[in-house]
Structures are given as C-alpha cells and as structure tokens.
C-alpha cells in the first residue's frame, strides 16, 4: 500500500493471470499474508473450522479474528462433517442467529507441519453441502503441485472458482519475500482496506518483487521443472526410508519432509537434544539440516520434534544421494 510502485502492480497482475483468478493482492511479509486475510473476513460471532495441523500463521490469524474456532482432526473429513452437522443442528435451533453467522473452513494445500495434502475434492463437496467458505493456504504447494505449478487445485483438477480465497507465501517456491492472496475481485478487493497487513504496512522491496516476477517467468517457461522436483522428492523419500530410529513423515511428492524419532526418549527436550546431535553430525560433514522450530507455549497442537528436510529442484542427484547416505550414517552413529 505505502510505497507501492509499478513493479508490485505488475506482480499482482502476473500472479492473477498465472493462477487464472480475477485479482491478486501482494503482502510484504509472508507470515502476515494469511494472518491478515483471515481477520478481514471472519469477525466476532463467526465460526471457523480449521485443521489441527494448521501452521502458526493461520493460528495467529484466527486469534486476531476473534471468531469461534472449531478444530478438527488432521485430514479427517468424518470429524469435520461431524462438526458441520453439529453446527447445522445449532443453526436450526436459532435461525435468526444463523443468518448473520459466517462459516469458514481454513486448510492448507500441503501442510508444513506434517507434509501431507488436504483432501480437497471432499472439502468442496462439504462446502456446497453445508454452505461454508473455503480458505486455502498454499504456501508449500504453490510452485510444487500441479502440472504447471498452480498448486493443489491443479493437482486435483478442481475449478479455481470453487475456492473462495487462495493465500500463499512467496518465500518458498518463488524465493522472494512476502505473500499473495488471489481469488475473485469481489473478495480480494476487500482486503485492500481491511487487510491490516496490507493497509498498515509498506510494500515489499521492488527488487524482490521483480525477482518474484522473474521466478514466475521461469515457472511459466519451464513447466517440466515440477515433474523433476517431484521425481527428486520421491527419490529422497525412498532413500530415507530405511533409516533405523527415524521415520519419514510426509507424502512422496512433498518437498518438505519430517524425520521424527521412531521411539521418543521420554521428554520433548531429550528428543530435541538427540535430533540436534544428528543435525550437528550432518553439519560437520557438509550437509545443512534444521530441526522444525515451534513456539512451544503458543502452538495449539504441538507437533512432535523432528528434522525438517527440504528439497529444491536445483539440487543434483549426487547431492541428494550424498545427503541421504550422510543422514543414514548420522542416525546410525547417534541413535545406536
């Protein structure tokens, strides 16, 4: 908003064209994207159904929205349907209140905390059955899933107009900073004045907006990089399967996997120390890994401690094999 120049507008147009939606809006901080988008639409008295494994940014957005949050078990559509049915019976008891309550479902395309995909086709069915709006957070799946990298809607072959709002981080696959939301003009235009992270903040540095435009051009010119990325992810996923003491959590085509301890040693602290030793071993031998960090006291559903392995398309096969074998060695030496 403040100090927005032509590069930002160009990026918004290009993103809207790429995602085949009517309009897009750029935020200057990736975390603030979904954390501002949710409170712009959900207010006090509204109901939001959200997955347990939603990332911290979503949780903060929900907290800022002051609406009633209903958590459902991760990727469990039966649980969600149960909650929706309960809400429906409540609505029938008080139809006047139901008429002024807005209902939303917030899910992620590819979950950062668990590395798996949300079952979008079933969600769309539930959406039309119970009249709820869907907010999709595609930070990890944008530029990864789908034939041309358009995200989970392309992956499942769903019409993009079925999703009310798509929000994504440009900090992952576009290698820039900031984030964007895209959808119908009617929905996105509202955020220009009500999105706190847009209205009361400055735009991202023009250099990085230009970098994002260039990244989008690369994505459009080479659509085969997505298939390459998926094969590399599958390769790593397979290579890491046999490690004793660590189990791989995540889909085969997810570029972010978690390596969790097969048996925990009692307390979270000890688990984290053990994983730290694995990470340090790898670091000393030339591979940089990280543990997934959480604000333990603030998360609603704290995931177990893990090492988060992230793969990019630029890494060569030898590098990936080397990393996998080094991890095996590290696990052997530290955990046995």
């Amino acid at each position: 908003f403040f100090s927005q120049i032509d590069v930002h507008l160009e990026l918004e147009d290009q993103l809207a064209k790429f995602m085949r939606t009517e309009e897009a809006i750029i935020y200057s901080y990736g975390f603030a994207t979904i954390a501002s988008a949710i409170p712009a639409y959900a207010k006090r008295g509204d109901i939001v159904f959200v997955d347990e494994a939603a990332c911290f940014a979503i949780q903060k957005g929900l907290q800022a929205s002051r609406s009633n949050i209903k958590l459902f078990r991760h990727n469990d559509m039966a649980d969600l349907e149960r909650l929706l049915k309960e809400q429906e019976t409540e609505d029938q008891k008080n139809p006047r209140k139901a008429r002024v309550t807005r209902r939303f479902i917030v899910v992620e395309g590819l979950y950062m905390n668990t590395g798996d995909v949300c079952p979008l086709p079933e969600l769309i069915k539930l959406k039309y059955k119970y009249k709820v709006r869907i907010f999709l957070e595609e930070s990890l799946s944008f530029g990864v899933l789908g034939e041309h990298g358009r995200g989970i809607t392309e992956h499942f072959g769903i019409n993009i107009d079925d999703i009310d709002l798509i929000s994504a981080n440009m900090e992952n696959s576009l290698a820039s900073i900031g984030g964007f939301c895209c959808g119908r003009s009617f929905i996105i235009d509202h955020q220009r004045l009500s999105g706190q992270g847009y209205c009361f903040s400055a735009s991202l540095p023009p250099l990085l907006a230009a970098a994002a435009i260039e990244a989008l051009n690369i994505m459009e010119d080479n659509p085969d990089i997505f298939q390459t990325l998926r094969t590399k992810c599958a390769r790593i996923h397979e290579a890491l399967q046999g490690i004793s003491g660590l189990k791989v959590v995540g889909e085969t085509f997810s570029p972010a996997l978690h390596l969790q301890l097969e048996e925990s040693c009692g307390s979270r602290e000890n688990d984290m120390k053990l994983l730290k030793r694995v990470v340090d071993y790898c670091m000393n031998n030339g591979i940089a890994l990280t543990q997934a960090c959480y604000l333990e006291k603030e998360e609603k559903c704290l995931p177990p401690p893990s090492i988060r392995v992230v793969i990019t398309v630029e890494q060569t096969e030898q590098e990936l094999d080397k990393a996998a074998s080094l991890l095996k060695e590290a696990a052997q030496s530290v955990l046995n």
């Binding site: 207010k43 006090r44 008295g45 002051r66 006047r96 209140k97 008429r99 706190q196």
Partner: protein, 151 residues
C-alpha cells in the same frame, strides 16, 4: 493522508453525538420540521405530529438500527448494538446521552402546551414519549424484549 485527519477512534459512531455543532443542528432541525408543518393543519395537530414523527425517527435511528455503516477495526464488537448503546462505548449518563434524553421531554412539554392538554392528544403524545424514553434508561442497555432485534 491530510494533516489532522487521522484519528485513533475504533468506532466513530460512538463520538458522532459529541461532534461540534450536532446539538445545534439537531435543535434547528426540529424547529425546521415544526415550521414546515404549519400551513396545512391546525396547531395542536401539527405539534402532535411533530412530536410523533420526531420520536418515531429517533426510535428508528437510535434504537432499531444496529452496528455501523462502515468497517471498524474492532472485529465487529458492536455489530449487535444499537447506536444508542454504542454512544461513548457504553458509558451511561454522558452529556450526549443526557441531551438526547431531555430533548424529547422538552418537545413533549411544548406539544402539551400547544395542544391545550386535550385528552386524545395527551394519550398519543405520552405513549410516543415513553416509547422513546424507556430504551434510553441505563437498565435497558443491551436488553432486547421478546428477542426482537437480537441479531
């Protein structure tokens, strides 16, 4: 933005009745209606009509319509409150509230005088006055009788 325009008021609706000149505009507005109504009816009817219309409009604007016509940064805290309940963020007996409570009473006194205390006019005017005074009592803050106008 322009100099001196930014304010940190979360809900501007609460300070409307404190704005500069609004009490004077209110008084002149009422007199305007009175003056306009005179040529067609007799004086008692005119005054009774002024009283009724004033109270009706006041009831609709202050006690029926809820929420704000603009978007507020407080996530819809006052979405279910009427304008009267929003004045000064719910503080009772402020000067705006006193002014708005006294003006229907003043109008009622003038009306009773000009209708020469006629019984039929008295009934109508008193009912109208009560309908606009009762919702202003502090005990009625947030009260919705029979669930009307709750959502």
């Amino acid at each position: 933005m322009n100099v001196g325009v930014a304010h940190s008021e979360v809900n501007p609706n609460t300070r409307v009745m404190n704005s500069r000149g609004i009490w004077l505009a209110y008084v002149i507005g009422v007199l305007h209606v009175v003056l306009l109504s005179i040529p067609f009816f007799s004086i008692p009817v005119v005054w009774t009509l002024t009283n009724i219309i004033h109270n009706l409009v006041m009831y609709l604007l202050l006690h029926t319509v809820k929420g704000t016509p603009f978007e507020t940064p407080d996530q819809g805290k006052d979405r279910l409150l009427t304008h009267w309940e929003q004045i000064d963020y719910g503080t009772q007996c402020t000067s705006s509230r006193k002014f708005l409570s006294i003006s229907p009473v003043v109008l009622y006194l003038l009306t009773s005088f000009y209708t020469k205390y006629d019984p039929a006019h008295f009934v109508v005017n008193t009912a109208s006055l009560l309908s606009v005074l009762l919702p202003k009592l502090p005990q009625f803050h947030g009260v919705r009788l029979f669930g009307i106008n709750t959502y």
